[in-house]
Symmetry: none
Subunit: 222 residues, 4 copies
DNA sequence: AATGAATGAGGCTTCATTCAT
DNA sequence: CATGAATGAAGCCTCATTCAT
């Protein structure tokens, strides 16, 4: 075994512990909130000693930041792949809404942190710019721009405004789910209603959009 | 001066101090966030002694809760009045969007708290149910229902879903403004784009909605 | 009404309020203990304003000291009268034991304070010497000395030691009663056993003491 | 060094620190009284950080309770051994009185706490039952019962009453010593007078008791 | 690298005391 | 004299972080 592989092994071992702490922190932050969460509780949940946390993270803030980065990396990558395979901006936007809500559903802890602590964090960590999140939002803006270029969406609509509006709409909806731990309507219905509302809302020509939306269904059924 | 007026004066004085603390807390919570805010800082900002806070509030949590209640009371009342004078659900929804964003603009500290701490609060104050906020959201749901009954909005759309989606869209937008303290587009544009998007999105018949939207403009110009 | 009578009236009014506070403090100190008792609670119980307390007492410590002084004054006076009418030291000692326990019984709050706070007080109020209490103890020492002079009690016994021993015996017994709020034996039995034990214990000649003890009974029956 | 000895060493270290805090608390509580004592002062006296206290004790109350438990454990054990070696109840009672006073003498801080704070404690720690102390008192009751069975003490005397009376007598005496920090008579004299008083007081036949008391002296001189 | 006992700064809260009315 | 709202000093306790092992 050469030095490199030794290093690699150590890295693996480290990475494994690093992620174990991230996972634990996700659960604890979701359960208690950032300020109520104790480092020692994260340590216990990760089955490491308190001090070990500080071999992998600068401080408590750094755990939260790293957690965002790591989780958003996966989320972003996943959403990119989901959207990449589709042609029409209409389908892409529909897919985005559905995937986002599903993601929240499957990853409630992370969702809760994004919704609750992400906001806190931008206050207490003034220096921290959540670039992953910005890129996530820009996925929407890119879809809108593409739709505008194809003449599907109104030119006058500001993509940077829509990206926040759509994200906000989805986020508020899921916030309600996450915190109330029950819901009146299922994910597919919610995603459909939200994306339809935005699609018709953005539509340059509602008939064309309607056809696109229907078209997708038909293609899917075929 | 009779007993009653003496009592009234004292009450006024008390109320005045109570609101001075609320105001101070609003600024401090907005500046630091709930957990970073120190009670002594609120006291200093309100120009009272630390102990005085506890003559008006149970504890730090209670300051936050009272702050919500008081501010939401005003916000809710104001929005009800704004919306009450209008006939068409279309106009109401437009007004709601515009007023909400203006409110945020004029009351950044409160907005920041609603957006950041309101979410925290539902975690750390498990028992606290923000009824005022629920009523605020229901203003939107009521508008949507009215629109559906008039045949303006699609019957299939769920008002309880839309209320969250619209609020979320507006909130996320203003969050960006509040936190970044600058913006690319003005309030009127943002409100118009959001409300138009939702109105066309909800429209049973886009032509009729279009007419309503135009109609309002015309009435306003007259 | 001349100045003097006005003064007298004021003094009366004052005295009345002064004692009302003393009474209230007795109840509150007994209920909570000195440190747990709040001045505002005493004020409430005395139906005066918090600030009024400080028109009659220097500070919280002073309330406790005054309370001792006033209550001990009564207790001391009462016990002096009880003992004065009796001839034999034997009877006097018996009477002392019985009266002390009855006093405790009828005045549980005061008893609790004497037993619990009196001890505290000698610590935190280093300067305070409880002279009334010393005189109370000396009632016993005087009885013992008289008994020694009459040849009833052993000359070798130290009166200053016995006074503490007897008081301690009675006090510990009543402490148990006061704190446990129930007892296995009645006051008369307890007083009799304690005084008998001490009388026989002090006796120069147990026969003579026995006769004295019996004698008293007979005189009483006559 | 194997795991076990490492563990043992750590335990020793911990135990050592635990007792260092107990010792420090004993001094500080004796000096200031429970309520005047500051946790930080105990920490300083124990040469640990403030927070360290809370690794070994729940809170300030728990320090006092633990202190009682630990010290009474030793006192009780010691007194049991002292009394166990003796045959006659007379000697046992004499020994109890002497040992108790010597114990107080050698352990003034602890004595002060028992006398002052033990009483407080039964108020502020309603739930806490000082079982060790009850057992300590029962040592006396057991001696009295034994004496009654041997026909030395009057059958009519209630052991549960005597145990409190004797303890009270000794305690009040030593309280005076502890608080006044000087005394008119030495421990042996005091112990002798108290125990003699109680022994003659309890005696079924004063001659027999007298012989017992003398007998012990003679045996001791032999 | 891992541990977890120890640290100690700092905040929320209480409450005796004051003083303007 | 009486009031009671206001004061602000002070202490218990928490918990992020360190460091000797």
């Amino acid at each position: 075994m050469n030095d490199h592989s030794l290093f690699a092994m150590k890295q693996n071992k480290n990475k494994e512990k690093y992620f174990r702490i991230i996972q634990a922190a996700t659960r604890v932050f979701a359960r208690r909130g950032f300020y109520q969460a104790k480092v020692s509780e994260i340590a216990r949940e990760a089955k490491v000693a308190d001090g070990t946390i500080y071999l992998y993270f600068e401080n408590k803030d750094d755990i939260l930041i790293s957690l965002f980065e790591e989780q958003m990396k996966v989320v972003l990558q996943n959403m990119r792949e989901q959207v990449a395979g589709l042609e029409s901006p209409v389908q892409k936007l529909e897919r985005f809404a559905l995937c986002h809500l599903r993601l929240i559903e499957q990853n409630k802890d992370m969702a809760e942190i994004i919704q609750v602590e992400l906001r806190q964090s931008s206050k207490f960590m003034k220096s921290y710019k959540n670039e992953q999140f910005a890129e996530y939002l820009d996925l929407i803006a890119d879809i809108v721009r593409a739709g505008q270029q194809e003449g599907l969406f109104k030119k006058a609509i500001l993509p940077d405004l829509v990206k926040r509006a759509l994200f906000g709409a989805l986020d508020e909806l899921s916030r309600y789910w996450v915190l109330s731990s029950h819901r009146k309507y299922d994910i597919e219905t919610a995603a459909k209603q939200i994306s339809d509302t935005f699609l018709y809302g953005l539509a340059a020509d509602s008939g064309k959009i309607s056809a696109e939306i229907q078209g997708k269904r038909e293609r899917r059924l075929r």
